[in-house]
Amino acid sequence: MPMKIGNANFHERVETNLHNTFMRGAVAGAQERLHTRRLEAAKELGNWEEWRALGEEIRQHTLENLDYYLMQLSENVAKRGGHVFFAQTAEEANNYIRDVVIRKKAKKIVKSKSMVTEEINLNAVLEAAGCEVIETDLGEYILQIDDHDPPSHIVAPALHKNKEQIRDVFREKLGYKQTEKPEELALHARKTLRREYLTADIGITGCNFAIAESGSITLVTNEGNADLVTALPKTQITVMGMERIVPTFEEMEVLVSLLTRSAVGQKLTSYITVLTGPRDEGDVDGPEEFHLVIVDNGRSNILGTEFQPVLQCIRCAACVNVCPVYRHIGGHSYGSIYSGPIGAVLSPLLGGYDDYKELPYASSLCAACTEACPVKIPLHELLLKHRQVIVEREGKAPISEKLAMKAFGLGAASSFFYKFGSKVAPSALAPFTNDDRISKGPGPLKAWTEIREFPAPNKERFRDWFREHQKGGGK
């Protein structure tokens, strides 16, 4: 799955998804559950704001010293017998991984959940090289067998499907004969997947946090699938975004606490696994060969810019789970594997404004995302910065809007123009006015009045009333 999903434009996608009642029911239900659980988990920890401040500080410190920590990480991985590859582009990452696969004569690959491998479209490359690639995260597995349906959420990729739909996919693709009970569905997937782990040649994982001081990688799951992916196959390849790093175990612990609480409202997930290099002498399991692929793919261009805070992201999706826009349009409307507020900020940076210029406007700037973010990324401010870039640097704003804003600048910066404009507004709008309201407005009012009534401007402006009020001596 590449980062970009489909070729329809944003408004077409939104239109389609607004009519998808299954998806909307599933998303709203999940948002309510996750919202409540996250607040409870934060409350239980206590001093949540202090934890957030600490999380922010750790991420900022790491980003400011990213070169140092990446160097330390790669030295420590190498010391433990692992191989490190820095990939500047998606293509470089994919080529390196394909070379390992070919060298190992691998036929079957099992994968645990990884957004960065979706971003670089790794599965397609490996399948083209003749491998069978099997996703082992339950959500990703469901999507994979459903003809590669794209993920609609960075943590719960199949969030847009309800259990009945998943049952139907299993029936059609796996010959499943049981009910839509989640336990039965999960058990079936588990039985099927167990066979795959045992016969896979290579395990590929993502990385929640790499630990620079030890050269370890941390994997956070609820299904334990990452443990099997890394314990059984002889070769392990871990793919990480270049910013997914912490200095020491101490910082990892803080961020994992923030991550699990923010993502799913859990104190800890069922499995938090820290792996360091290949199997050591005396180890009973683990890979014989370990590769760490560190992916840039546009991230270093964000460093040092006004958008740098987006790299603080720990991919918890708390912002997605509170977003009222995501709630109604679902993840697929964003046209990117990164959806919700974080996707609206990140996708134009990694994928360019041509494909994602609408996303910064797909927000009412309600700031629920900023409030929810456990590492204090000012998401709504970054959306605003995108809008500024689109207007000033990209020149992609519509001409009518530019003219309207020029007029605004004139009107709002000069009391003369403002007073004149507000004085003539009622007469100018009189033909459209019915009683106290405008139901079919002209120009910019058209879009408003398609949905709602617009108040007619008052003949007596407040300022006119106040002048009279003062003549009467005020109170």
Binding site: V14, E15, L18, V322, P324, V325, R327, H328, I329, Y361, A362, S363, S364, L365, C366, A367, A368, E371, L384, H386, R387, Q388, V389, I390, V391, E392, A397, E401, M405, K406, F408, G409, G411, A412, A413, S415, Y418, S422, A425, S439, P444, A447, W448, E450, I451, R452, E453, F454, P455, A456, N458, E460, R461, F462, R463, W465, F466, H469, G474, K475
Partner: protein, 238 residues
């Protein structure tokens, strides 16, 4: 106490009653009202659309207009938030940053001013009915004014305040969002109205004319009997 009123462009042009109620209420609470006639708009429509240059012109104008004021009070959480953002926007501008900070420091949203500065919670208002309050996003999350409206509403005689389900969710206004992303905004405002109906409220009260124009405009379009009131109007009801 002399209070300079920033009435907001929406109130000046479309909601004169909210401005009147604000003046009458503050006068009743012992304030002397100054209304600088040169005032226009806080600049938010341009700023939130990415037109920072145009917005800054409006902002400079507003900074100059309120330079003389001791207190600037506004019946809008969102416009107050915008004033509070000025220093951030003029950061590094040696001439304008300190002036922006001076304005931000003396700016208050109406309910915040009554509760925190005037130290009054019972304004002697009365209104019969069942009401719910819409916590607008900028006022709650960015300005951080969460308690003041409830403290004031609690003392309005005859008024029963019922919590609004999913109160934390945006009503779908978002300035130009409401027209740029009309179909999404429509879903958001409809969900908000469903929640207001769920609790059988007679009144929807809010402290931001933008949100109220959106929710109220949709309620009117649907012909529903819910009455939309600005909190200044409620507090000025006797």
């Amino acid at each position: 106490m002399k209070v300079s009123l920033f009435v907001t462009c929406l109130v000046d042009l479309f909601h004169t009653n909210v401005g009147k109620a604000t003046v009458e209420l503050l006068e009743r609470l012992g304030c002397e009202i100054d209304f600088p006639e040169a005032q226009t708009c806080c600049g938010q429509p341009a700023y939130n659309s990415g037109y920072v240059k145009e917005a800054k012109e409006a902002m400079k104008h507003m900074i100059r207009t309120f330079e003389h004021a001791d207190y600037v009070v506004t019946p809008s959480g969102s416009c107050a938030t915008m004033f509070k953002e000025y220093p951030h926007i003029f950061q590094g501008d040696r001439e304008w940053e300190p002036k922006a900070k001076a304005l931000a420091d003396k700016t208050y949203e109406l309910t915040q001013f009554i509760v925190d500065v005037l130290k009054i919670e019972d304004v002697g208002a009365s209104l019969q009915g069942r009401a719910t309050y819409h916590t607008s996003c900028h006022m709650t999350r960015l300005l951080g004014v969460k308690e003041a409206p409830f403290k004031l509403l609690k003392h309005v005689k005859g008024l029963e305040i019922v919590p609004l389900p999913n109160a934390h969710q945006c009503c779908g206004f978002g300035g130009t969002f409401s027209v740029k992303m009309g179909p999404i905004s429509e879903q958001m405002v409809d969900e908000k109205i469903e929640h207001i109906e769920e609790i059988h409220a007679d009144y929807l009260i809010g402290a931001d004319c933008g949100c109220l124009m959106n929710i109220g405009g949709r309620i009117k379009r649907q012909g529903k009997p819910i009455k939309v009131m600005h909190i200044a109007e409620v507090l000025n009801s006797r």
